[in-house]
Amino acid sequence: MLDSVLFYFFAGVAVIGAALVVTSRNAIHSAVFLITTLLATAGIFLQLRAEFLFIAQIILYVGGIMVLFIFVIMLVRLDVPLHHLRFRMKNLVVTVVIAVLGAEAGAIIYLARKLPGQGLFIQNMAPPDKLAPNSEKLAESLFSGYLLPFEIASVLLLVAMVGAVVMAKNKKRTEEES
């Protein structure tokens, strides 16, 4: 009962927030609604007892990436070019995309209706003590089974960061020389 209420609360907030991201005219408002959606999704993760995923979503997406978005939106005035971005056949494209996505979701729900655990009410929620502590499991697999991909990804991110700093510095220097 409580699980169902919580799930539909978070899901509803996420869907409404996502709709408002698309419909609001002001880019900062869109960003705020996107934050709402991400937080609601994080809530669903927590309900699924994926604690590490929940906090990674909050720290990385809401605390990191969204702040970057807001920064960019704040520093670049988006009001003027927004009018140039309207393209022809907008309504047609939107209708097609919505129809395809809706058909996909409907098909999935229809095909999966016979599987166990389906329906409006959530049953068989996993009890908290039955699940292994997942941040430990994640760390274990990252640092043993998937060590090489993990290191490659971190080196890649480091290279990207250093590259960005070098590019920014170079530009400043050439400006000073000229």
Binding site: M1, L2, I28, V32, E51, F52, I59, V67, S135
Partner: protein, 457 residues
């Protein structure tokens, strides 16, 4: 009985401690934040040989309440050119983030809202860092140059110092080996030492980083009055401003709680493993009762009758708390000698004792914040950035390695304290090297070109 009512009753019976904690956090933290402000003003006055607020209540003890009433009935101004929705939302974000992050803080072994959350310390860190969304959004929505400059500075500062602070936290997490708050405190109990003694440099880095994260002097650049009026909250007034203010002070409490949990032994009393010091468990009740006695002693010396009454009220409150401690201890004795009591309240007495020590440590941490604020002059913005990026972050990385090395040495049979001293000396040498290297850099840079640094702003 109605099954719905039964479900609700069962829910309440299972979760009443957590629910009470949540209500207490939401209800009491704003009040505590107000009294932290009063304490700060009193301390500042003491250090500057003044009296501070003295008018409202005995020694100004009712000043926070008068301030709150004043802010509540002040006119609510929203600038005409501002973005109304974001302007309304931003202070709420700051406040809610600070209060929510307290949900996972353990105020003693029994009192915590999110008890079995496995990533407790990450939750506190992550959610409290969402508060600066409120700062940038508020600065942007005000549509004022001072606000947006303050917001940009604040964000740059937060992002820089969160890196150093996070690395310092990693040092402590290496020692504890878990992210669960109760397990971190238990690790300090098992290892017979607070982590500040095993990783002193990490503790210091976290102290500096947490001052910068809470935007307090000497790092209060986002609201440097001489440059930016009041930074991101320039356009805010009345209760919205109060929300920002409360968020900031609640954030101080959160930061203090993180530091207490990780470095100062959480809710453990001093020397928790030494059994002949077990009498320290009675100390909280005795101290609270002594405060009550002191209030009665002072009550006769108050000049106004109302103030005498107020002192008596405070004294009675202290005695009531002390009485609760004593009653719980008696209950515990009854329980041990086989007298049956329907509701099991055994966890409350150690819980209250733990909460006392925890809050004492947090207060000490906040006192250090204030002390530094009144002692050190404000940094310049480029100095702040240089300190963060050139000195603290490299030092924090080195310190993570040093803590790892000392743990390896301990695993190989070297005495823990020898390993700790060795690695700490190495890290301090590295710190000296970093500082000198940075000084030389800035010297050569300033002689090479006289262009001012463009970081500021």
């Amino acid at each position: 009985m109605n099954p719905t009512v039964l479900t609700i009753l069962h829910f309440l019976q299972t979760w009443w401690v957590e629910l009470t904690c949540g209500v207490v956090i939401v209800a009491v933290v704003p009040l505590v934040a107000g009294y932290v402000v009063l304490l700060e003003r009193k301390l500042m006055a003491d250090m500057q040989a003044r009296l501070g607020p003295m008018r409202v209540g005995p020694h100004g003890l009712l000043q926070p309440i008068a301030d709150a009433v004043k802010l509540l009935i002040k006119e609510d101004i929203i600038p005409a050119e501002s973005d109304k929705f974001i302007f309304w939302l931003a202070p709420v974000i700051s406040m809610v983030a600070a209060l929510t992050s307290m949900g996972a803080v353990a105020f003693g072994p029994a009192f915590q809202v999110a008890r079995d959350i496995n990533i407790g310390i990450l939750f506190v860190l992550g959610v409290s860092s969402l508060g600066f969304l409120g700062i940038i959004l508020g600065g942007w929505a005000s549509n004022s140059h001072y606000s947006i400059l303050g917001a940009l500075r604040s964000t740059a500062q937060l992002v820089s110092y969160e890196t150093a602070g996070g690395l310092a936290i990693i040092s402590a997490l290496l020692l504890s080996g878990t992210l669960k708050i109760s397990a971190i405190v238990q690790a300090q109990y098992d290892q017979h030492a607070w982590f500040i003694f095993l990783a002193p440099v990490a503790g210091f880095i976290y102290l500096v980083a947490s001052i910068a994260e809470t935007n307090r002097a000497p790092f209060d650049l986002p609201e440097a009055e001489s440059e930016l009026v009041a930074g991101y909250m320039t356009e805010y007034s009345g209760f919205r401003w109060a929300l920002y203010f409360l968020g900031e002070y609640a954030n101080m409490i959160v930061v203090g709680s993180i530091a207490t949990t990780l470095f100062l032994g959480g809710w453990l009393r001093p020397f928790p493993n030494v059994h002949w010091l077990n009498w320290l468990d009675f100390l909280p009740a005795v101290i609270i009762a002594l405060v009550g006695v002191y209030c009665i002693y002072r009550a006769g010396k108050q000049p106004v009758k109302v103030q005498t009454g107020f002192m008596w009220a405070v004294a009675l409150g202290c005695f009531a708390v002390a009485f609760v401690f004593a009653a719980l201890w008696l209950l515990h004795l009854f329980h041990r000698f086989g007298v049956l009591i329907p509701l099991n309240l055994d966890f409350i007495l150690p819980g209250l004792n733990g909460a006392f020590w925890f809050l004492l440590k947090v207060s000490g941490y906040i006192y250090v914040f204030m002390w530094l604020r009144f002692t050190l002059p404000r940094y310049r913005f480029d100095q702040l950035m240089h300190l963060g990026w050139y000195i603290l972050i490299p030092l924090a990385i080195i310190n993570v390695f040093a803590v790892g090395i000392s743990m390896l040495l301990e695993a190989n049979g070297v005495n823990r304290w020898i390993g700790m001293v060795l690695t700490t000396v190495l890290v301090l040498a590295a710190a000296v090297f970093l500082v000198r290297w940075h000084d030389q850099r800035t010297e050569s840079a300033s002689t090479a070109s006289l262009t001012p640094d463009s970081y500021a702003g």
